[in-house]
C-alpha cells in the first residue's frame, strides 16, 4: 500500500506504524462527570466498519508525523491522507 503523505508524496505503508481508529484523537475529559464510562468507550469500543475507515498512521521511519488516512477496509484502497491537526499533534 502507498500512503499519499501530504508533505512527502506517496510513501510505502511499511514506513508507518498503525494505531487504529482516528477517533482516538478525541480523548475525553478526564475531569468531567462520567469520565469512567467515557474512557471505557474511548479506549475499548470500536465501530470497526467494513468500508471507509478513518485511521491513524505514524510515519515512524519518515518525518515522524501522525496522519489520518482514509482507507476502504474491504479493498485496502486508500482514499486520502491528511496531517493530524490540533493539540493532539
Amino acid at each position: 500500500m502507498l500512503i499519499p503523505h501530504p508533505l512527502l508524496g506517496p510513501r510505502d505503508a511499511q514506513e508507518f506504524t498503525y494505531l487504529g481508529d482516528a477517533r482516538l484523537i478525541d480523548r475525553p475529559d478526564g475531569m468531567a462527570e462520567g469520565a469512567g464510562a467515557a474512557f471505557h468507550d474511548y479506549l475499548y469500543l470500536r465501530d470497526n466498519p467494513a468500508g471507509p475507515h478513518r485511521e491513524l498512521w505514524y510515519h515512524e521511519h519518515g518525518d515522524r508525523s501522525w496522519l489520518v488516512v482514509t482507507r476502504d477496509t474491504t479493498t485496502h484502497e486508500i482514499l486520502g491522507a491528511e496531517l493530524v491537526k490540533g493539540p493532539g499533534r
Binding site: Y18, G20, H40, D47, N48, R71, T73, H76
Partner: protein
C-alpha cells in the same frame, strides 16, 4: 450417511454414485427455539452440543455462504492448551480434552493428531517466562515440558541453533498439542447436529435483528424473517458488522491473517514448531506441504487477502528458524478475517439486548477452541449461565477492569 471399509469397496465398484450428502438442505422454518448465526466451527459445534448434551432440538444454524467458508476452512489447524492466565487456561484445557474424544464422539475422522507443539525460547528471560507458563499449564491439568537446547536438537536437528541474534536455547513442549483436519471438524459437527434435528441453512445471510421492546425475538435474513426465543451470534471476523445491526459497538477490530503452504514434501517435520523470536510457526500437513504463518497484517481489514510485506516477513522468519525451508516452493497463500479483541481473549456472554448472545473475539487462536467454545456457548444458551471454564469471558470485563491480557500489551488488537 456413514462410512465403512465395505462401503468404500462397494462404491468403488459402482463408480462412486452412491455417496449422499452428509446433511439435509432444509427450508428455513418460521420459528425456532434457538438460532445460531454463523456456520463456522463455533456455530456448528454450538448446535451440536445444544442438541446432543443440552437436549435442544428446535435449533437452526444460519450461514451466509456455504458451510465452512470462513475461518474454519482457512486456519493452520493447530490445537494446544498452553495459556498462562487463569481466565483462559482451564477453558483451553477443557477444549483439549474434548479434542481427545472428539472423533469417537461425533464418529468422523477429524485426523486429530497429538504430534506435539514446541515453542522455542532464545534467552534466559524467555525461558523463565516459559517455565512459569508451563507450571500454569500443569496446574490446570495440562501437560508441559521445558526442554533444553540439546533436547530440542535431538528432536529437530535441522533448526538453526546458532542464529547470531536469536540462538535457540530450548523450548516449551506440549506433547498433547498438535493438529486436526479443519474441514473434518466442521463436517463432523454439522453431520452430528443435522442427525439430531438441527436445521443447517446455507446461503442465508442475517441482515438484521428483530428487536421488540429491547428483547431479541429473531433475525431478518436474505430468506425472510425467522423468529426465535434466543439468538446466538458466532460469526468470527464479521462480528463487528453483524452486531452493529443490533446497535452495538464492541471491543473488537477485524484484521486479516495470512497463511502459506509449500509443495508436498517427504515427511520431514513431525510436530508443530513456533519461533520465539520472530513471529513464525510451522507444521507439515499429512499431504506433505509445510503449512506456516506469522503476524497479522497490522491494519483493520475485511478484505480476506493480505499484502506482500507480511509475506516477506514470514518468509524471513522461516529462513531464520529452519533454513532448509528456502528449498521448498510456495504453493498457495490465503487470508482470513480475525475478530481481534482488545485484550486478545474471547467473549462468550449475554449482551445488553435480552435474548441475544455473543460468541466472539477469537483472534487467531479460535480453531483450537472450537469444541469448548461450542460446548460453553451451548451451555450459556441452554441454561442462561456460563460454563465453569468460561466465566471470565464476559463482555463487560473491559468496563470492570477484569481484562484477560496474556501478553500484557493493552488495548491494541494488532499486537495481541
Amino acid at each position: 450417511m456413514s462410512y465403512s471399509g465395505f462401503r468404500i469397496l462397494r462404491e468403488a465398484l459402482r463408480g462412486h454414485r452412491g455417496w449422499r450428502p452428509l446433511w439435509r438442505d432444509p427450508e428455513p422454518q418460521s420459528e425456532y427455539d434457538i438460532i445460531i448465526v454463523g456456520g463456522g466451527g463455533h456455530g456448528l459445534a454450538t448446535a451440536y452440543y445444544l442438541a446432543k448434551v443440552f437436549g435442544q432440538a428446535r435449533v437452526a444454524v444460519l450461514e451466509k455462504g456455504w458451510l465452512g467458508s470462513g475461518n474454519i476452512g482457512r486456519n493452520t489447524t493447530i490445537i494446544r492448551s498452553n495459556y498462562l492466565l487463569p481466565g483462559n487456561q482451564p477453558f483451553y484445557e477443557f477444549s483439549m480434552k474434548l479434542w481427545e474424544g472428539l472423533e469417537q464422539d461425533f464418529n468422523l475422522n477429524a485426523m486429530v493428531s497429538q504430534r506435539g507443539v514446541l515453542n522455542l525460547y532464545h534467552s534466559d528471560g524467555q525461558r523463565d517466562a516459559y517455565r512459569r507458563r508451563g507450571n500454569a499449564m500443569i496446574l490446570s491439568g495440562a501437560d508441559a515440558e521445558l526442554l533444553d537446547r540439546d533436547q530440542v536438537r535431538a528432536m529437530y536437528p535441522f533448526l538453526n541453533f546458532d542464529n547470531a541474534r536469536f540462538p535457540i536455547r530450548g523450548g516449551l513442549l506440549q506433547r498433547r498439542g498438535g493438529t486436526a483436519r479443519h474441514d473434518g471438524v466442521a463436517w463432523g459437527y454439522a453431520r452430528g447436529a443435522d442427525r439430531r434435528g438441527v436445521d443447517i441453512i446455507q446461503n442465508c445471510e442475517v441482515t438484521g435483528f428483530v428487536i421488540e421492546n429491547g428483547v431479541c425475538r429473531g433475525v431478518e435474513t436474505s430468506r425472510g424473517t425467522i423468529r426465535a426465543r434466543k439468538t446466538g451470534v458466532a460469526v468470527a471476523g464479521s462480528t463487528g458488522r453483524v452486531m452493529a445491526k443490533a446497535g452495538m459497538r464492541l471491543p473488537i477490530e477485524s484484521f486479516v491473517l495470512q497463511a502459506f503452504v509449500t509443495e508436498g514434501l517427504k515427511p520431514c517435520l513431525d510436530g508443530v514448531i513456533t519461533f520465539g523470536a520472530g513471529h513464525f510457526y510451522v507444521s507439515q500437513s499429512d499431504k506433505g506441504g509445510l503449512v506456516f504463518g506469522g503476524d497479522l497484517d497490522a491494519y483493520n481489514s475485511y478484505a480476506q487477502r493480505g499484502n506482500l510485506p507480511v509475506m516477506e516477513d514470514v518468509a524471513e522468519g522461516g529462513m531464520a528458524l529452519m533454513p532448509m525451508i528456502g528449498r521448498a516452493r510456495l504453493l498457495r497463500s490465503w487470508g482470513g478475517i480475525m475478530d481481534m479483541s482488545m485484550d486478545g481473549s474471547p467473549i462468550i456472554d449475554r449482551t445488553p439486548v435480552e435474548g441475544l448472545y455473543l460468541n466472539a473475539g477469537w483472534c487467531y487462536g479460535g480453531f483450537k477452541a472450537t469444541p469448548a467454545s461450542g460446548y460453553c456457548f451451548a451451555h450459556l444458551l441452554a441454561k442462561d449461565a456460563p460454563h465453569e471454564t468460561a466465566t471470565a469471558f464476559r463482555l463487560d470485563r473491559f468496563e470492570t477492569g477484569h481484562v484477560i491480557d496474556e501478553k500484557g500489551v493493552g488495548a491494541q488488537p494488532n499486537l495481541h
